[in-house]
Symmetry: C2
Subunit: 359 residues, 2 copies
């Protein structure tokens, strides 16, 4: 079984432009630091609140969802792990698009689940109709999806939830604050929908490991049974509460990222890449049919980290997180310098499909 392989993390002191793990280029709200300083006292000797009450209270206020419908995770990764442990038995079917967040594969392998991996539509759209046909015990839709940034519409997700009836649908909305729509309100009307959120991206808190799951209270109860007793530490709880109490800070940074994303799409297309329109804080940049591993390595040598997925059908693409404008300019300049030589030496992937229309 292959463990999930996260993107490279620079060692302390390494000066790199980090566009590989979809972190936010802007810092978290100053209220987060103040909350941490106030909590980092002798009280660290005491266990945290088992259900992260202050964080859940803040989430209930920020999202207007009842407390009983929310559970906190040590990152949404932990919530995904809890979902598999609570719901998926050996041999149970799990369904999700392919490609998507590769952690689902790791968790399915640990659970010894049978997996239906449904290819994306040709224009990168999420294959919701085919997912409905699978009627899996657990269906997962990452929306916006990684690595291409396509979002499933609210209506399409509602229809999928209805079609799955008593089977569970997880909508992993890790990137949804960068999108134009979200599906959170489905948890109020569909008993089989679980929406996941994280503070890692839009709230600039990847380092604090803060995730939230929203669902009907019966599902939340099931998840509590497999939750570690104290899964969030004291500082994570207050940091999460402070971040959710400062939504304007998050929204301002999201706006900056969206502006830079639009610029990035234009510039990468001008450099010859196929770039599907993204609603996330990253874009996929394809040179269809060419393995871009050498290009990623060449960028790495120039101090720029982007994500290349060597085993994916998108090995002919790079996933580029949206950084600060100056970081993106460094990327565009590096690509402009590297591409002529790349094109001289590149060979087409044998048996590669024809380039896809980016819609």
């Amino acid at each position: 079984m292959a463990p999930y392989v996260p993107g490279e993390q620079p060692r302390p002191g390494q000066e790199l432009i980090k566009l590989n793990t979809n972190e936010n280029p802007y810092p978290p709200s100053p209220k987060v630091r103040r909350a941490i300083l106030a909590e980092a006292t002798a009280s660290l000797r005491l266990y945290p609140a088992p259900n992260a009450d202050a964080f859940i209270d803040a989430a209930a206020r920020a999202y207007r969802v009842r407390r009983e419908m929310i559970i906190a995770g040590n990152g949404s990764d932990e919530l995904l792990s809890m979902l598999f442990r609570a719901i998926v038995g050996v041999g149970d079917k799990v369904a999700y698009p392919q490609p998507t967040y590769s952690l689902y594969d790791t968790l399915a392998a640990i659970a010894e689940a049978s997996v239906a991996r449904i290819p994306l539509e040709p224009d990168y759209r999420l294959p919701l109709d085919c997912l409905a046909d699978e009627r899996a015990r657990l269906t997962i839709v990452c929306s916006p999806n990684s690595p291409c940034g396509a979002v499933a519409s609210h209506d399409a997700l509602a229809a999928l939830a209805r079609a799955l009836s008593d089977h569970l649908l997880v909508v992993d909305e890790a990137y949804v604050d960068f999108a134009e729509s979200n599906a959170l309100d489905l948890v109020r009307t569909c008993d089989n929908v679980i929406v996941l959120r994280t503070l890692s991206k839009s709230f600039s808190l990847a380092g604090m490991r803060l995730g939230l799951a929203f669902a009907n209270p019966a599902i939340i109860q099931q998840l509590r049974k497999v939750k570690d007793s104290y899964n969030l530490n004291r500082l994570a709880i207050v940091a999460g509460a402070a971040a959710l109490a400062d939504l304007p800070w998050m929204r301002r940074n999201v706006e900056r990222v969206r502006r830079t994303r639009a610029l990035t799409e234009r510039r990468l297309r001008a450099l010859g890449f196929e770039v599907p329109p993204s609603q996330a804080n990253f874009v996929l940049a394809r040179l269809a049919g060419y393995d871009l591993a050498p290009l990623a390595a060449a960028l790495r040598r120039r101090g720029i980290l982007v994500r290349h997925f060597p085993k994916s059908i998108f090995r002919d693409a790079l996933r580029v997180s949206i950084g600060r404008p100056s970081e993106m300019r460094a990327l565009f300049d590096a690509l402009a310098a590297l591409l002529p030589s790349f094109h001289r030496n590149a060979e087409r992937i044998s048996g590669a499909p024809a380039p896809t229309s980016a819609g």
Copy 2:
């Protein structure tokens, strides 16, 4: 399936004497706060080191164990959960003493394991010979054990590890810094031994969720496969590293707790309790044959929290964490006031065994 039920956590602002969840009454090293302040910056926007490198490095130095033999957990609870997920399949046998840390029951139920619960010896000793006979896929010995504080000797654990040969032995040493011996060096000589430590008790960091597992590199690799990608947040990593770099601070607090423990044993015995000698930061106080739920409730009304296990064979006992001397004096005074009335009204548990010799 019953979830693990942690001890009561007071709400913010509640003034209680908290002797119910084995926290350290003394604060963590000031170096911990300094490390947190230095890390709670814009860098929180970045993911933490997936393998908590700085914490592992500090553990390697503090315990003189190679890095490849150490993995960090979000508390040792998470390490226990990972062990079950990595090692225990449906129907596999797991063996541990009874009573012990009740989380093992919860994890075994989630894993749908078959469980051999081996009763303690009459003098509270850990039943290592009977555990060896079970030859379970996973054997767990909490040493010192909760709730009675008995420790398994190094030689006895070494013999158990040998007897289990290729089956795994977990020695959960959550409380071992308060004891006179430990079994950590067994990981160097026995390929089937996993030793768990936590910074929750002796290092006064229950609020930070910091656990460590030590074992041969092949087992550590197996655990990495089921580990969440980023299971410790940035502040936990630096807090753990700072705490392990200040062992004298920990040892001074341990010495204070041990002195108060000796006093507590004497005083509780003088009040009529049977108190097995403890090597942990808690003691068990028994009135053999009498359900102590009413006594725990009466203490609660006086603002003193102790732990009562209503479903345990030790429901005729209270587990009392060792607090500051002033907190213990408040407990002794409250018990002295409450016991006469308790004895007038108490009825023996029907079918209760005769009082056990406390050795």
